[in-house]
Amino acid sequence: MHAFTGLWGPGTTRAPPAGRLLLLLLFLQAATRPSWGDPADSEFTSLPVRDEMIAKYSNLPLETHNISLTEHVSTPVEKNITLEKASKVELACQLTTSGDVNAVNVTWKQGDELLPNNFVINTTGNTVYTQYTFTIINSKQMGDYSCFFGEEKERRGTFKIKVPQLHGKNKPLITYVGDSTILMCKCEGCHPLNWTWYRMNESAQVPIDTHLDDKYVINGTYANETKLRIKQLLEDDKGLYSCHAVFQLGESEDHVELVVLSFLVPLKPFIAIVAEVFILVTIILLCEVYTKKKKQGPDDGKEFEQIEQLKSDDSNGIENKAPRLRKTESVDQ
C-alpha cells in the first residue's frame, strides 16, 4: 500500500492514456505475484484490481484538513474527520515556534507506524508547515494520522478518520406482548451503501431474516435511516438488536435494547391505587355517616320540643295573627 502511495504521490493525479495500459499490465502482474511488502499487504493485493483502477482514475472528492500548533501546547490537538466514500485526503500541520525552524524534525505516523517520507515540508519565518496527501479507498486506511514536530510527544496533531457514527437512544424501547414496534437507526448526513440488522443471541450476532413469515420488515424512508418493524411481539423477542451501516470505507453499528412486557406489569400498580382509593372512600363515607348519626342523636329531642311548641302556637294564633306575623318575621333574619 505504501508503495502505491509512493508511486502516486502528491502532484500526480492522472497518467496519460498510453501509460495507462502499461500500468494496467504491471498491475495485473503484481496481482498474480506474491506480495511485495508486509504480509498485511497481501489482503490489499488480493482485492479486485478493477475496483482499484476505478478508484484511481475517477475523480475522487478532495478532503483538506488543517491543524495549527503553537510552541507551548500542553495537550495534543485532535481533529475528527468523517469519511464514507473513497476520497483524496490532504492533511496539513502547522507549527509556530520561536526556536530554530530548521532544526525541527517532522514525522507522520499512521497509528504507531511511521509513514515514509513522501510529505511536503515548508518553513517560512517562524512557522513550519507540512502536508501529507494520500488516497483512502478501503477500511484499512482509516484510523489516526498524526504529525509530529520534534521528539516531544506533545507537539503533535492527530487526525482521526472514521466512518460516520450512528446516534441512537441509550434508553431501552418498552413494548407489550402482541404489539408491533419499530426499531430505528439513523445517522446524520450520511449515505450508507447498505443497512443490516442483527439480533444478539448469547454473544453471537444472528442476522434477521425478513423473508420468514412477515414478522420482520426492514425499510427506510430516507437513505440515512433504517427501520425494522417487528409484528406480533412475544416475550422471547426481547433483547439487544444491532443495526449495521455498511460504507465503502467500513461499517458502523448501533445497539437498541427491546424490552417486551406483559400487560400484568403496569396492572399491579394500577390495582394497588384502585384498592387505596376504594379503602379511603369507604373510610371517609363511614366517618361521615357516623358523625351524622352522632349529631342527629341529641338533636332529635330538641326538634321534638320545637314541633310541640309550634303546634300549640298554631292552635291559639287565630286572634293574634297580626302581631304574630311580625314576631316570626323578625326571627326570620
Binding site: 418498552i174 407489550y176 394497588a272 382509593v277 361521615e288 326570620d332 333574619q333
Partner: protein, 486 residues
Amino acid sequence: MAKMNRSGSATPPDGGWGWMIVAGCFLVTICTRAVTRCISIFFVEFQTYFSQDYSQTAWIHSIVDCMTMLCAPLGSVVSNHLSCQVGIILGGLLASTGFILSSFATSLKHLYLTLGVLTGLGFALCYSPAIAMVGKYFSRRKALAYGLAMSGSGIGTFILAPVVQLLIERFSWQGALLILGGFVLNLCVCGALMRPLAVKEDHSSPEQNHTCLNEKEDSKRTSPYSPFTKEWVQTCLCGSLQQEYSFLLMTDFVVLAISVLFMAYGCSPLFVYLVPYALSVGVSYQQAAFLMSILGVIDIVGNITFGWLTDRRCLKNYRYICYLFALGLDGLCYLCLPMLQSLALLVPFSCIFGYFDGAYVTLIPVVTAEIVGTTSLSSALGVIYFLHAVPYLVSPPIAGWLMDKTGSYTASFLLCGFSMVFSSVLLGFARLVKKMKRTQLQFLAKESEPKLQLWTNGSVAYSVARELDKKDEEALATAVPGYDLT
C-alpha cells in the same frame, strides 16, 4: 312558613372540616389542571407510535382544556341537583375511564375521544363544584383557602411532570396512561370529602321548590300517567333552572363575565409563547426553561401569599380592587414585554407576572362569591369557567397568526396586554358607576318623606308613603343594606 328557618346552621365554619375541604380541592386541582398540563409530555410518544406530526397530537391537549371549561356549567348543574359528592365521584370515574380506555387506543382518533372528550368531561364535573365548596366553608379566611386550593395546579405540575416522565420510561405510554388513570381515580376520594354544609337558603327558592313538589305529588296521586305530569315537571325544571341562573341578569355579574372573557384572552398566550420569545431575543434554551420554572414557582407563591394578604382586615373589603389591581398590573407587564430584550430583564418580568397571575386566579372565586352569594356560587363559577373556554382555545392561534403576519411578537403581546388592561378598567369603571349611583340615591333616601319607614336592621320594610319608581326601589335596595322588597 315555619319551614323557612329549619335549614340548620347559617355561618360557614371557617376551619375544622373546612381544611379537609381545602385539601380535597387541592387534590382536585392537581388531578385536573396539573394532569392536563402533563398530557403534553405524552405527545412525543404519540408522534412516534402513531406516526403523526405535532399539530395533530397537540389537539388532544386543546380538546381536554376546552371540554373542562365548556362543560363547567354542566358540572355545577349536576352538583346542584344531585349533590357535590356524587358529582365529583361521577367525574372521577368518568375521567379515570377515559384514561384507561385511552391506554388501549389504536389510533389518534381514539385518543381524541377517550383522552380528549371523556376525560375532559370528567374533569369538568369535578372542577367547579369543588371550588364552589371551598367558598361555602369559608368566609373570613376565604382568600387564603382559595389560595391554598388553587396552588395545586402549580405544585402538581412541578411534581407530576418528572413522575409522568418516569412512568413513560418504565412502562411506555400505555402503562403510564393506565397508572395515571388510577391516580385520577383519587378524585373520588376528594368527592367523598366534600360533605355538604347546610347553608341558609334564600326566601324565594324553597317556596318555589315546595310548590313544585306539592303539585307533582298531587298530580301523581290522581293519575300517574296523566299528560299533565310532564308539563308540571317541565315547568318545575324550567322554574328551578330560572331560579338557579337568576344571577345572570345581575349587571354586576354581566360586567364580570365580559371582563373574564378579555382576561382569559390575554393570559393564555404567555405560557405558550414565552419560551419562543425568549429564544428569539437570544436567551439560551436552558435559560428559557428556567424562566418557565420561575413563572410556575412564583405563581404558586402568588396564589398563597396574595390569598393570605387579602384576608387581612385592612384589605378584606377591597378584594375587588385587589383583583382589579392584579389584573391591571399583569396587563401592563404584557405591554412592557416587547421592550424586554435580555435575560436580565425577563427574569423580573417572569417574577412579577407570575406573582400577579397567581394572585388574580385566587381571587376569581372570591370576587364571584361577593357578587352572587354562596348559594349560587357553584352555578356562577360554572358560567365563569365556561367563559374561559373559547378565549383559551382561540387566543394562542391568533397570537401565532399575528406573529407570522408581522414577523415579531410585539403585535400579539400588545393585543393581549390591552385586552387585560381593558378587562381591569371595565371592572373599575363599573364599580365607580355603581358607587356614584349609590351616593346619589343615599342622598335621595335621606331627603325622602318621614312617612317612609325603613327598618334598616330588619328584613321587611313597609313603605307606607308614596310609591317609588321600580328603578329607585332597586337602587335603594343596594344603597340601604337589608332593605327587602315585599
